[in-house]
């Protein structure tokens, strides 16, 4: 008798667990507006989610019987936000350099149990690209002609960035891609250039390698993983582009500051996308406001936007800043892509996230209105079919 009770208890527990596990759930969400970003806005739409992925999406979608139906009639559904360039939740980076450390991996630094991750979830971020090296503050040139801001980063090839979800009880649960991209922190001087060049040349001769130092570079050289490059100033970017010219299969992504507009035509020519801070800046030495994301987008450059400050406050402020950019001329649809599908593409994870399309992860936000409208609140955040955040 006791054994049977235990057995039933076990079943209930495991059953309960399996019910709690998102993988087996089927969910159907009915909402007023579903903004897919890539395929337009669906009015009175339905999303069907199973195994954490979007199984169907549209107006006239059959809802499976076993589905748990979530009706949110006055809400908007939007893809979860993607921040491709952050060091949130990581410890202070190494300083010094230059060096070639492609075997350094951000995943080895991950520490999931942080309040920060919960809060940036609440701010709508479902995917983060974590960079090795510097926190991402960029120096700029003031009217006084000198550089200030930030700390001197480690330079050269600084490691492999990780693509994570800001949830999970252990690093494995966070990781979306453990070798998401190779990172170069660039400085315009011959030492840094030589370090990068010799590392790349040594890897170039190999088609594949088990050497942890070489394999990431081989992948980068073949374009199998993107290469993120961080430059302090547009002039430095010109040096970098020259340096990397012989390695023409590399998929470069520039992480940069607002001065980038000065080299816009070079970026267009080389088709290099840009990750740029979401803020309205000032034209050099003046109080004339310039909307650099808009300038780049209108020049034909693919942009991704990241928060002005790489911290919780910056993330919570993010959508408001995007709205400001749109108000001063950035195309609304471009803005939406710049915070979802574009960064996903830059990190080469667009096959699974960044938009609401069949087959992709069910990473989405349930909002009280359009994400770029003033006053819109995030009600719920879903990652791979599981609600990970609910507004109080």
């Amino acid at each position: 008798m006791r054994n049977i009770c235990h057995y039933i208890l076990l079943c209930i527990l495991t059953g309960g667990l399996s019910v709690g596990a998102a993988a087996e759930e089927i969910i159907a969400i009915k909402a007023d507006r579903i903004d897919t970003v890539t395929s337009g806005v669906i009015e009175n739409g339905i999303i069907v989610i199973a195994d954490g992925k979007i199984k169907a999406i549209g107006n006239d979608v059959e809802i499976p019987e076993a589905a748990e139906v979530i009706e949110v009639p006055d809400k908007t559904i939007f893809p979860g936000l993607v921040n491709p360039s952050s060091r949130i939740g990581l410890s202070q980076p190494a300083t010094g350099g230059p060096g070639s450390n492609p075997h350094y991996r951000v995943v080895d630094e991950l520490y999931p149990h942080q309040d920060q991750y919960k809060r940036i979830l609440g701010a709508g971020f479902t995917t983060i690209g974590l960079l090795p090296g510097d926190k991402g503050t960029v120096r700029y040139i003031s009217g006084y002609g000198y550089l200030f801001g930030g700390r001197s980063p480690s330079t050269g090839i600084t490691g492999q960035g990780a693509i994570v979800r800001p949830t999970g009880r252990n690093p494995e649960e966070m990781i979306v891609a453990e070798s998401g991209f190779v990172m170069i922190h660039f400085q315009a001087n011959d030492k840094v250039k030589n370090v990068i060049k010799s590392a790349l040349d040594s890897a170039k001769s190999k088609t594949s390698s088990t050497d942890p130092k070489d394999q990431p570079l081989v992948n980068a050289l073949q374009g199998k993983v993107p290469t993120f490059v961080m430059c302090n100033s547009p002039g430095e970017m010109l040096h970098l582009v020259k340096l990397l010219e012989p390695y023409d299969k590399m998929k470069l992504v520039l992480v940069a500051g607002t001065e980038t507009y000065r080299i816009a035509n070079e970026l267009v020519k080389k088709k290099i996308p840009v990750i740029i801070t979401a803020k309205i800046d000032f034209e050099e030495s003046t109080l004339t406001r310039i909307n650099v994301p808009r300038m780049l987008a209108e020049a034909g450059i693919k942009i991704a936007l990241r928060p002005e400050s790489d911290n919780v406050g910056g993330c919570e402020d993010f959508l408001r800043k995007i709205a400001e950019l749109v108000k001063s001329g950035l195309d609304r649809q471009v803005a939406k892509k710049a915070i979802t599908i574009n960064p996903a593409e830059m990190m080469a994870v667009d096959y699974r996230l960044g938009s609401l399309d069949v087959g992709k992860d069910a990473n989405l936000l349930i909002l009280s209105g359009d994400p770029l409208d003033v006053g819109t609140k995030i009600d719920k955040v879903m990652i791979e079919g599981k609600i990970v955040h609910e507004a109080p």
């Binding site: 009217g143 006084y144 034209e283 050099e284 030495s285 003046t286 109080l287 004339t288």
Partner: protein
């Protein structure tokens, strides 16, 4: 016999000649300057040809003063006047510097207390300061040597002529100006009161109030309106001069709020003639307020232009030009010279400061006034210097071309009618005939 006599005569003559050109013969007291162009800077007619500007003119100097000046046709050179031949040159008043730190030595910032109304720098005039010697080479003849800006009331400056030959006679006015500081430098010193602007304003208001009441008490007593003789306070005695209108108050101040504060506190509230000086970092935004008040005399330097602050429009704004635009008519320019270096304007480059003000949009005319008559007016010494007018001191600068032209150096400078400086290799003085046998030089 005859031979010996003639030799004796010759020797005697030679002795007479040598004695008459002996070094200790006093310099001629009378000069006649033949000028190619005279810029008199005379108020009201500074640049009108025929009045303020005289082409081909003559100036007569005697006993340290200007005796006469006018077109050559109108002036006869009397006998006994040594001629200075400057027919290919311009003649201007000696340059007047309203704000400098050369000419007096011994650490001009006494930082023990936040205010030092007892101190006067006249006690440490240093005729051997290199700035004195060099200033003259740039045509500067009168300077207001100031104590420093380390404290809110540094004391009293001294106005001196750059003629070191007689230290007693150097001082034009023992109490030049009352020196105050509205902002910035006193904030360097972390002390008790006075480390903040609020604190400084409080200190300044206190001392001004005391000095004002003291002055009024004495004035009432001297008029017979008050029976009781006011208690004599040494430290406030000197401030009476400012409150009696005898000397100006020079206030080291910056930015719009600072200049406005100076105008309000000194001119409006206390009826003091005030010279806001420096006024960089946006002072010119209150230029109109300065222009409205007769008692305010703006003095700019060593900074002469603004980029970023206050306009943040990506433009280089000439401070002089901006004040001119705002209607300021009495603008003067300084070097704020300290020591002798190339890194910041040395005393002799006051004319260069004027040129640079002109470069950034100030009228050439106003630039020249800014280093002559306007400085003199700001200091209240325009009865003596700052323009070439009959009765004024014979302080004169002579060079080829304008003071604003730096391809030509100053050739000759007179102070109090005495040649203080003549550039090496130049001799404009027409030597007198000493002996009928000698050729005229």
């Amino acid at each position: 016999m005859k031979h010996v006599c003639s030799i004796a005569v010759i020797i005697l003559a030679a002795l007479t000649v040598s004695s008459s050109i002996a070094k200790d013969e006093p310099a001629p007291a009378k000069y006649a300057i033949k000028a190619g162009k005279i810029l008199t800077m005379a108020p009201g007619r500074e640049f009108v040809v025929g009045k303020g500007v005289i082409n081909h003119g003559i100036i007569l100097l005697s006993y340290g003063k200007i005796e006469a000046l006018g077109p050559s046709s109108s002036i006869q050179i009397p006998k006994g006047y040594t001629v200075i031949e400057a027919s290919d040159r311009w003649v201007t008043p000696g340059i007047v510097e309203a704000h400098t730190h050369i000419g007096a030595e011994g650490g001009f910032n006494d930082m023990v207390t936040p205010i030092n109304p007892e101190l006067k720098i006249a006690d440490s005039v240093d005729p051997e300061d290199i700035g004195v010697e060099k200033g003259v080479t740039g045509g500067v003849t009168t300077i207001n040597a100031m104590p420093g800006s380390g404290t809110n009331l540094a004391g009293f400056s001294v106005i001196i002529k750059l003629d070191p030959s007689d230290p007693e006679k150097m001082i034009l006015r023992e109490y030049g100006a009352m020196k105050m500081t509205q902002a910035f430098n006193p904030e360097r010193r972390a002390g008790d009161l006075g480390a903040t602007r609020m604190g400084m304003s409080w200190i300044l208001r206190q001392i001004l109030k005391q000095a004002k009441e003291y002055t009024e008490a004495w004035r009432a007593y001297e008029r017979g309106e008050r029976k009781e003789k006011p208690k004599y306070k040494l430290e406030l005695e000197k401030m009476r001069k400012a409150f009696n209108g005898e000397i100006p108050t020079i206030v080291h101040t910056y930015s719009g709020w600072g200049v406005m504060q100076s105008i309000r506190m000194f001119n409006d509230e206390n009826n003091l003639k005030v010279v806001p000086t420096h006024t960089a970092y946006g002072g010119y935004v209150v230029g109109q307020e300065a222009a409205k008040r007769n008692g305010v005399f703006v003095n700019i330097g060593p900074e002469l232009r603004e980029f970023s602050q206050p306009a943040f429009d990506g433009r280089f704004h000439g401070m002089g030009a901006e004040y001119q635009k705002a209607g300021v008519k009495n603008l003067s320019i300084n070097t704020d010279a300290v020591d002798w270096s190339a890194w910041i304007a040395p005393q002799e480059e006051l004319s260069f400061q004027a040129s640079m003000s002109a470069h950034f949009g100030l009228d050439d005319r106003d630039a020249l006034k800014g280093i002559t008559i306007n400085s003199a007016r700001a200091l209240g010494i325009d009865d003596r210097v700052g323009s070439l007018e009959v009765g004024k001191d014979a302080d004169i600068a002579i060079k080829k071309g304008s003071l604003l032209d730096h391809t030509a150096p100053v050739d000759l400078v007179l102070i109090n009618g005495k040649i203080i400086y003549q550039r090496k290799g130049v001799n404009l003085v027409v030597q007198k005939k000493v002996n009928p046998r000698e050729k005229e030089s």
